[in-house]
């Protein structure tokens, strides 16, 4: 019994330590973010941010688009099979449009970015730690948080919401294709229905979620990298851990945000 309590206590302390480290890292990055901004910050840091934006965003666009189109089709087909029985096939448009804008767009994007970039952040920073590159930065009077983390976080904050919007567009486009082939609904009329069904707060809540997901992915990925101890095997473990933890936290945050918006934002 004592052993079980001990392990529960240890696990709780470890989790609290992890959350505390994430918070400390977040505030340190926010303080350092000014240096990564264009015009007012450091030129080289902004260049690094742009490189990160290309890697996180542009390179992920084909994958996110394809995922969104497939999911849009699946959602439309599954919805149609039930709604058809009630003669409410038109509500497939609402289902796809609102479903993607509020929920699926940000969530799918976050899962794709977590798998691609969260793991890449952990591997890159973990390798820098193992090869003493982070120590090199410190002895060169450069802060790793400012030099490595701030560009990644800023890039994620800019690119993940943009990817979410692209994901929404692709998902809704898949809905249009389904409606065209199943009911011969013209794309213009589909677009009209979509515009009627989506409210501004749907878009805003989706973007708020995206920003939160970007924060989780960037910080969990980087923290896993900074926590690497030992050799290359530890880098591999941190990469896996970054994906697992960030995906879990993204879904947890999604549930929390959805609950908050459900009770506070009136449709």
């Amino acid at each position: 019994m004592a052993t079980v309590l001990e392990s529960v206590g240890k696990r709780t302390l470890d989790d609290l330590d992890y959350v505390g480290s994430l918070n400390i890292q977040l505030w340190a990055t926010l303080r350092a973010m000014r240096t990564a901004l264009p015009f007012v910050g450091n030129r080289y840091r902004w260049q690094a941010t742009v490189r990160q934006m290309l890697q996180i965003g542009v390179d992920a666009l084909p994958m996110v688009s394809l995922m969104a189109i497939c999911t849009g089709f699946i959602l439309a087909m599954q919805g149609a099979s039930e709604l058809r029985r009630f003669g409410a096939l038109n509500y497939v448009i609402d289902l796809v449009a609102v479903g993607f804008t509020r929920e699926l767009g940000p969530l799918l994007t976050a899962i794709a970015v977590s798998g691609r970039s969260g793991s890449s952040f952990a591997a890159e920073i973990g390798t820098m730690k193992v090869t003493e590159e982070l120590d090199s930065l410190r002895v060169m009077a450069l802060e790793p948080v400012e030099f490595v983390l701030a560009p990644k976080y800023l890039a994620s904050l800019i690119v993940v919401p943009c990817l979410s919007v692209a994901c929404n567009v692709c998902g809704i486009f898949a809905g249009a294709l389904f409606m065209f082939f199943s009911t011969h609904l013209s794309p213009a009329l589909y677009l009209h229905y979509v515009m009627n069904s989506i409210q501004l707060h749907d878009v805003v809540t989706g973007l708020i979620k995206s920003v939160a997901f970007a924060t989780i992915i960037a910080h969990v990925g980087c923290l896993e990298g900074f926590r690497v101890r030992g050799g290359p095997d530890s880098v591999g473990r941190s990469t896996t851990s970054a994906v697992v933890k960030s995906t879990f936290l993204v879904i947890l945050a999604d549930a929390a945000f959805t609950a908050i918006f459900y009770f506070t934002v009136k449709s």
Partner: protein
């Protein structure tokens, strides 16, 4: 007044004492070699001198500033006058060799890009890498990486140059070339040089004074002539390459005898 002063330095990892009350003064323009076997605490001492770790107690004073108690800003300022080349070279793999050398100049000076390019070329020329600036670290041999690390350490013309195991893993010719380079740098730039090594020929070639570490304490500190003439048993063991009792023969024999007796008892 010494440029570096170490007083009663104690370092512990998880309760295990690694450095035990060290005292050492290093004068301006002096080449101090920290000599000792594997696990004697050389690299730990070096990490204390460059401020990467904080000790349990004691002080490390560089240019009159106690780096164990100074603020982050003071430490950053001080680090600009210290150049460090790590054992693994720790060049940034994502940057070319010339960008590695240019990094500190871009970050800490307001020099025009053309001046920075010229300075980078000069630093690379000093270490014999003038034609290799465009290459990335992974395209260089071990010796070239180490020379690249020295060039980067020299970027801001530091007053103190710290080299961790510069000749480890290199063939005797490249190691000798690095020794000559260290002597050249000292003569040309009047730097204070601290070298961590366990390579005896290298130590006696470049040192003004040698501090011999054994199990976290200095077993002997003196000029190379004094060290060579020392009758300290630890120094003699190291210099005369006398094997220790790591593989204590009687103990190993007793272990095997006991093992065989156990096996016979089972049969």
């Amino acid at each position: 007044m010494p440029i570096i002063s170490i007083r009663d330095l104690v370092v512990e990892y998880d309760g295990r004492r690694v450095l035990d009350g060290l005292n050492l003064d290093i004068g301006q323009g002096e080449t101090m070699v920290l000599l000792g076997g594997s696990g004697s605490g050389k690299s730990t001492l070096l990490r204390q001198i460059i401020g990467l770790e904080r000790p349990k107690s004691g002080s490390v004073t560089i240019k009159g500033v106690d780096i164990t108690h100074c603020s982050g800003a003071e430490l950053k300022k001080l680090r600009r006058s210290i150049g460090v080349a790590f054992q693994s070279a720790a060049l940034f793999n994502s940057l070319s060799v010339e960008d590695n050398v240019a990094l500190m100049l871009r970050e800490h000076t307001a020099l025009a890009p053309s001046i920075i390019d010229l300075m980078v070329w000069m630093k690379l020329a000093v270490v014999g890498l003038a034609g290799f600036g465009k290459l990335h670290p992974q395209e260089l041999s071990g010796g070239m990486k180490k020379r690249g690390a020295v060039a980067r350490a020299l970027a801001l013309d530091p007053e103190i140059l710290v080299l961790d195991e510069p000749s480890a893993g290199l063939d005797p010719i490249v190691a000798a070339e690095l020794d000559e380079l260290i002597l050249l740098l000292k003569e040309a730039f009047h730097m204070t040089v601290i070298v961590v090594t366990h390579e005896l020929p290298s130590a006696f070639r470049i040192a003004d004074r040698i501090a011999m570490l054994y199990q976290g304490t200095f077993s002997s500190v003196g000029t190379k002539e004094e060290i060579q003439a020392s009758q300290n048993p630890r120094v003699r063991q190291f210099l005369d390459r006398i094997p220790g009792d790591m593989a204590h023969a009687p103990a190993v024999a007793a272990y095997f005898e006991k093992y065989l007796q156990t096996q016979e008892a089972y049969q």
